[in-house]
Subunit: 369 residues, 2 copies
């Protein structure tokens, strides 16, 4: 198992990650506390898909004192948007709606240029495409601010160097596995990722708590950020961290833009989704119908079932029924896949409708400084 | 001996530096070639104070073909301006006037914040003060463009990351002596220093030769820059490199803003200059007048004489006379110092008069993008 911002490999043991990264598990007491403010709990919380956090109790303490937090999440524009991205962003929208808070959304075009074998122009193309997807999630344009590293660097760099001055090469070597052959832009980059966690505090001239919803592989960046920010007089950002939506190929690794074949994309047509799920989605079922009826399937490793659990089946009852029927052999792989395809396509239909109109309102989302 | 952008120590052996850095010596053939275009030769060239270069013949080849170069030099705002800075800048002005070329003048406020134990605000204060001195040199405001790292980062950063992607930690470790405890902003910084060497080419959409007049300790930055720029489709910048104006304490090291006591500052009053030279300037004379008359002084290590040679005595004949009289014992240390004080104060008087009016025209110098 390897989990850092630049690679997720193997079967991820989340309990081990909690220990290694020093995270706190999301427990029922914390869920009940959230529910006091949101009335209902998002199914990604009920199912512990968002499974860990840092300082979320402190965020709620402050919120209860009337000191609202802001949300910060982001996107590295290096390829098409897939369901793994959307999962975190739709959950972030839920948080925005329920807590009525501002969202600072960072596009790390510098990072992707520096880390990937992509030209500057290719990254800029993906930046534009990815912004359309973020808008399609339905964030409140009045409370959502896009921060684009190469565009907003005028306000970001003077802050980033204050962060960078407090971080040594040793630290980033340990956090990200850098070596002597890492390029010097990549070495600097984590300082840019730190900036949105205190940028609103700078812009508004007062210290505002920050909550970062993100997939757990980004934690090393924010661990470094959390060490530095108090030294600059800002709060440590809190976080709420998700597990990884599995790639089509099965329960190891994560869905990834650089391996589009393993991923369902935000722009996939119904036909493409059908083909990908039917052809590629790793199945927990048995090789023959007879055997399946007799032994039953394994939903824990079945990708179609996991997609329903992670993103597309909001009803716990329905999900439990599917699980039971699949385990018993009553529900066949083909039937389960068919149901998942319908749910995914219904979701993508709405997303794509909003995405088609996104460019008209793109300007409203760009942070004005 | 140690010579890099972050420390100059010991007695500098310039011939050894030429070999170690891989520089070319400025020889008489090259001086004659320059003279064809300038009519006269600046005394800093005649005296080989600017002693080495890279690709200066190529710069002249292009110039003779009608392909004008631009000049690029800079200032790290971390303290007051001293004579060592002014020496390079006044020579740069001579180049601007004689070749009628544009000058891009970089203020590396990010660098000084990252490398020095100075707050961001202190660096900004020095930035302002230092800009006044640069203007006081008398550069043509129509052909001189200030590039301030934290202010122009909007255009610089997208270019700096293209440079940074081509430079590994190994490279900067070797060039600047970085270790695992170097901060990640300092590690990235050389990419920012590379930018002005091709920024005009980017802004004007055509490849323009660049000539960098600088003190030889900056060479490691431009060595790295020269490796990278052809990979991005730009010319390698050429350079013309000076030796170091000695500190008041004698021929080792260089005059430095962080040791104001060793330096004569651009804002020193006539009285301060007199006191510094009389009290602190290392003398090549003998302990007593009698001994001096008998054995003579050594102008090679005499700071007052060296200041005259480096900056303040334009006449070679007068300088030769002073040298001869000092060696013979005819000229006493006190007399030599008195003459140097007069020359320095006459120079600073004019500089300070222009400096007093500089703030009125500061805006004209800032690069507009």
């Amino acid at each position: 198992m390897r989990v850092d911002p630049y690679s997720v490999e193997g079967k991820v043991d989340y309990d081990k990650l909690i220990k290694e990264f020093g995270l706190e598990k999301i427990d029922d007491a914390l869920l009940n506390r959230i529910k006091k403010h949101t009335n209902e709990l998002h199914f990604m919380l009920r199912r512990k898909i968002f499974f860990a956090h840092r300082d979320l109790n402190w965020i709620l303490d402050e919120y209860e004192k009337g000191n609202k937090f802001f949300l910060y999440t982001g996107c590295g524009p290096s390829g098409p948007i897939h369901l793994g991205h959307l999962m975190v962003w739709y959950f972030t929208k839920w948080l925005q709606d329920k807590f009525d808070v501002e969202l600072y959304f960072q596009f790390t075009d510098d990072e992707k240029f520096l880390y990937k074998n992509l030209s500057y122009e290719e990254v800029q193309k993906w930046l534009y495409e990815n912004m359309l997807d973020v808008i399609a999630v339905g964030f409140d344009p009045k409370k959502t601010f896009f921060v684009i590293d190469t565009k907003h660097v005028g306000i970001m760099y003077p802050l980033a160097i204050k962060v960078a001055k407090k971080i040594t090469f040793s630290t980033v070597k340990a956090a990200f596995g850098f070596t002597d052959s890492t390029n010097i832009g990549s070495i600097f980059y984590t300082a840019m990722q730190a900036v949105p966690s205190f940028l609103p505090s700078v812009l508004k001239g007062k210290n505002i708590p920050c909550l970062i919803p993100h997939a757990v592989d980004q934690d090393p960046h924010f661990r470094v950020t959390r060490d530095v920010l108090p030294k600059l007089g800002y709060y440590k950002p809190a976080s709420i961290q998700s597990s990884f939506l599995p790639p089509l190929t099965g329960p190891e690794g994560k869905m990834s833009s650089s391996e589009a074949i393993k991923s369902i994309l935000s722009t996939d047509t119904p036909k493409q989704v059908k083909e990908k799920i039917n052809k590629y989605a790793f199945s927990g079922g048995q090789p023959t119908v007879e055997e399946h009826r007799k032994k039953g399937g394994n939903p824990d490793i079945d990708v179609a079932f996991q997609y329903l659990r992670y993103m597309f089946e909001e009803s716990d009852e329905k999900l439990a029924q599917l699980e039971q029927d699949y385990r018993s052999g009553k529900l066949l792989t083909g039937e389960l896949k068919k149901y998942a395809i319908e749910k995914i396509n219904a979701f993508l239909k709405e997303h794509q409708e909003r995405r088609a109109k996104a460019k008209e309102i793109l300007d409203e989302f760009i942070l004005k400084v």
